[in-house]
């Protein structure tokens, strides 16, 4: 298992280098420079433009800039935002817990609803339930996040008055961040009602963000289960007189787990991507919204650092998924 883990970890290094390259060069392909982007209608006189480019180190050839960037990254310095002048790392550390909390809850919804729905659809293949689940999954998968979110806000917040419109917690609550995870911080605080407020603010964005992963997980679970349920050993288990739930949970689901776990791992990337739109819509102070604004402002350090850190988070999750394969299926472990 240790060798398996080391092999997987070594494969992360070239990916990480790839991310630094993409993060650095892709944003520079977008026309316009950060100084011009800050200038507005008035523009900026060439001498001051030159000076600011020099101050930000943007007057150097690209390869030199990249070399300096990588060297700083290796020392743990991701630079400062060109707009706020705060360090990228501190801004990320402030905002990432919000994204993580939202993504975690979205994934929880996707798993709690998606897995049983997929299993039920597979077990009751071609039934009304199966068609219903698959129809709903297809609809969910095709739903534009922004539109879906607005619909939910109009229905649940404006019309039915059941949930808050946006934000992370009611304005009445003044919570000092301890962990950054508001559900935990509100529990740690003495403010009565703060936890309920934070939870109620989380409901709609988590549903919106969890919709696509839910649909994907339900469809993948159904398909993987269908494949396994047709295997001889399942028939044998049934013939031996094992109860249905044991056949499904212990024999079928365990063997269907590899593709399902793969999809769940991949959905983490989807969650971070989806968080960009969900956070913008629900005024959720996470890294998605931060990066979108940085694109508009050509805030290179934020874009580079943010992409790198999110990339690292996705890689870490995928690494865990890879390691989980090894635990779920010893053949993979031994093959490595």
């Amino acid at each position: 298992m240790v060798r398996f883990a080391l092999v997987r970890i070594s494969q992360v290094i070239p990916t990480f280098i790839g991310i630094t390259l993409v993060a650095f060069f892709l944003i520079r392909l977008v026309p316009g420079d950060p100084i011009e982007a800050m200038a507005g209608e008035r523009g900026i006189d060439p001498a001051r433009h030159e000076r600011l480019l020099r101050d930000f180190g943007l007057d150097q050839p690209l390869l030199i800039q990249y070399g300096r960037y990588v060297s700083r990254v290796l020392q743990g310095d991701l630079g400062r935002s060109m707009v706020t002048r705060e360090t990228v790392l501190s801004e990320f550390a402030t905002l990432f817990p919000a994204t993580l909390e939202l993504s975690f809850c979205a994934m929880l919804i996707a798993l709690v609803l998606g897995l049983p729905a997929g299993i039920l659809a597979a077990v009751r293949r071609n039934s009304l339930l199966d068609h219903g689940v698959m129809g709903a999954a297809l609809t969910g998968y095709s739903m534009p996040i922004f539109w879906w979110g607005l619909l939910l806000i109009l229905l649940f917040s404006v019309e039915l008055d059941l949930t808050p419109v946006s934000g992370r917690i009611g304005d009445v609550f003044y919570i000092e961040p301890v962990t950054g995870f508001l559900l935990i911080d509100t529990l740690l605080s003495d403010e009565p009602g703060a936890f309920a407020s934070a939870l109620s603010h989380l409901v709609l964005p988590a549903i919106v963000l969890g919709t696509i992963p839910l649909a994907v997980i339900a469809r993948m679970t159904r398909s993987a289960m269908l494949e396994v349920l047709g295997e001889d050993y399942i028939r044998t288990a049934r013939a031996k007189g094992l109860p249905g739930y044991r056949v499904i949970w212990l024999h079928a689901l365990r063997n269907a787990a590899i593709p399902i776990v793969t999809v769940i791992g991949l959905q983490v990337g989807v969650l971070f991507t989806g968080a960009i739109l969900t956070e913008s819509l629900f005024s959720w102070p996470g890294v998605g919204k931060w990066l979108v604004e940085a694109i508009g402002r050509r805030d290179y350090p934020v874009l580079q650092g943010g992409t790198l850190l999110i990339g690292a988070a996705v890689m870490a999750v995928n690494l865990l998924v890879d390691l989980a394969y090894g635990m779920i299926n010893p053949r993979i472990r031994h093959a490595a």
């Binding site: 316009g32 523009g43 801004e91 919000a98 917040s157 959720w284």
Partner: protein, 524 residues
């Protein structure tokens, strides 16, 4: 003594539907996060809104208007030649405090010197802190204008200019000139964390900062010791809500009481909502199409006039601005002093336009480009759509216009470099002074490559008028000069003036006496 802007600002009769907020809490659904809390390096209205609750300036704009009124200086004297300004500072003005710093003295002349020199002198220890890009200080021409800055005594500051500059007081009322505490700056420098004064600010303003959570909320509390008395609201919360639809949903639900920048498509619904009223303020802005006068055929005034008559302005305003714009006939907005309402706009008359074009030697028209911004701007909601309407109108007199667009930064740069033949652009006023439009956008100095005069209009009779108006301090005399300048502008037609966008601020009915600012600022 002037009336304190927040004293009459709000009486919140009853707030919010379900949330148990204090009756004196106001929630403002702001559109974004500030860059930081140092207005001198900020360039966006969003950041200015966040900072202006905290800081005062030497002089200020009257609430809801552009008139300069006393701020931290209770009065001032101007020398006969208009180059020496002596400011007499208000006494007993208290500084706010925060977890990092407790002030030991009141506001005085040292704070004025610190705040200006920090932006002016590269050798100043705070010049590079947070950013050396003091945009507005440079853009308003301060480095070339200021000759000296002296502390006469604790309560008196003298500023000497290199030449008379009538808009100088207006320039000092802008947000970039917010006054910071020298004592706080010294303490933070000593502690090795100079940037803290811009991140955890203190000021002398009506509210102090309680908490800022990036992209979430900014919390302020009324400063009880404010020199003009405590504000009538206790707590002010900026709920950062970038999406206009969501801001509207929050306003409907009572989660906030004021929202800026509504989506024009929602205005009809908003007007029907019994809990909401829409406050209107003619914006200090202008959207226009500039003819590049250094390029043929736009060097001929007849061609420019012909095109002005060929474009249906009313159709553009009806189709694109909806109810959020008024037709522009002058380069300055109607709310600005010296606006010349006697001027008649060029009529929409395609037949006369065609005749004039023939007279200019283009009976069959000509081909040209027509640039359209790729982004929505405060003075122009949809430049592409406007360009299409213009293109159709111009085709009727034989002018074939090809619509061009670039990335926004690139667009502005190329336009200012004069690469276009016809280009849409616009302006939002900084300081309420006509010079800020007529000289900045149409003066000869701005007509050089890279300058803001994108028509490259440099016409001596006009130039003489605006140059003279800049140096005289008598407002009646300045008004007469600017009125004449507008007549010359209309005769020469360097622009097709499109519209002045109206600023709309939906507020809940419980909010009383909020006045939108002509600068599109939101101060409470």
């Amino acid at each position: 003594m002037r009336e304190f802007p927040t004293s009459a600002a709000f009486c919140i009769a009853a707030l919010l539907t379900s949330a148990p907020l204090s009756a004196k809490t106001l929630v403002y659904c702001s559109e974004g996060s500030p860059e930081n809390f140092y207005p001198a390096v900020n360039t966006t209205g969003t950041s200015f809104d966040a900072g202006s609750q905290i800081y005062d300036r030497i002089v200020d704009f009257e609430r809801g208007g552009t008139k300069v009124v006393p701020g931290l200086a209770e009065r001032w004297d101007i020398s006969v030649d208009g180059t020496v300004y002596t400011f007499h500072l208000r006494g007993g003005v208290k500084w706010q405090s925060n977890r990092l710093f407790k002030p030991t003295r009141d506001f005085n002349a040292d704070d004025i010197l610190f705040s200006i020199e920090r932006q002016w002198k590269e050798s100043h220890p705070y010049f590079n802190v947070t950013s050396s890009n003091h945009s507005y200080f440079n853009d308003m021409g301060m480095p070339a204008l200021l000759k000296s800055l002296e502390k006469v005594d604790e309560a008196t500051v003298r500023i000497t200019l290199n030449h008379p500059e009538a808009p100088f007081l207006s320039d000092l009322a802008m947000e970039y000139a917010g006054i910071q505490s020298k004592e706080y700056a010294d303490a933070m420098m000593k502690a090795g964390t100079p940037e803290k004064i811009d991140q955890e600010p203190i000021g002398t303003g009506p509210f102090y900062l309680v908490q800022y959570q990036k992209d979430a909320t900014i919390r302020y509390r009324a400063f009880a010791e404010h020199w003009a008395g405590k504000a009538k609201i206790d707590d002010l919360i900026f709920a950062i809500t970038p999406d206009a639809e969501v801001r509207w949903a929050k306003l409907q639900k009572g989660e906030c009481q004021i929202m800026p920048y509504p989506n024009p498509a929602d205005l009809d619904t908003m007007r029907k909502n019994p809990n909401v009223q829409i406050l209107e303020q003619p914006g200090l802005n202008v959207g226009y199409l500039a003819y590049n006068m250094t390029k043929k055929p736009f060097d001929d005034v007849r061609v420019r006039k012909a095109l002005n008559m060929a474009i249906n302005k009313k159709a553009i305003i009806d189709a694109v601005y909806l109810s959020t714009g008024v037709a522009a006939k002058n380069p300055i907005p109607p709310t600005m002093w010296s606006y010349n309402d006697d001027i008649k706009d060029d009529p929409f008359d395609p037949a006369a336009a065609k005749n004039l074009l023939a007279e200019a030697g283009y009976p069959d028209g000509f081909s040209t480009d027509l640039w359209a911004m790729p982004v929505q701007r405060p003075y122009n909601p949809n430049a592409r759509r406007i360009a299409e309407l213009m293109q159709a109108d111009l085709a009727k007199i034989g002018v074939k216009a090809e619509i061009k667009s670039f990335e926004w930064g690139e667009y502005r740069k190329r336009l200012q470099d004069g690469e276009h033949q016809m280009g849409q652009f616009g302006w939002t006023g900084d300081n309420g002074d006509p010079d800020n439009f007529l000289n900045s956008l149409l003066g000869c100095a701005a007509a050089k490559t890279g300058g803001g005069n994108i028509a490259k209009f440099c016409y001596q009779p006009f130039e003489e008028l605006v140059a003279k108006a800049k140096t005289v301090s008598d407002q009646a005399e300045r008004t007469a000069l600017y009125r004449k300048a507008q007549v010359v502008f209309k005769e020469q037609a360097p622009w097709f003036t499109i519209a002045h966008a109206v600023q709309l601020v939906p507020v809940r009915k419980e909010v009383i006496d909020f006045k939108p600012s002509p600068f599109a600022r939101h101060t409470f």
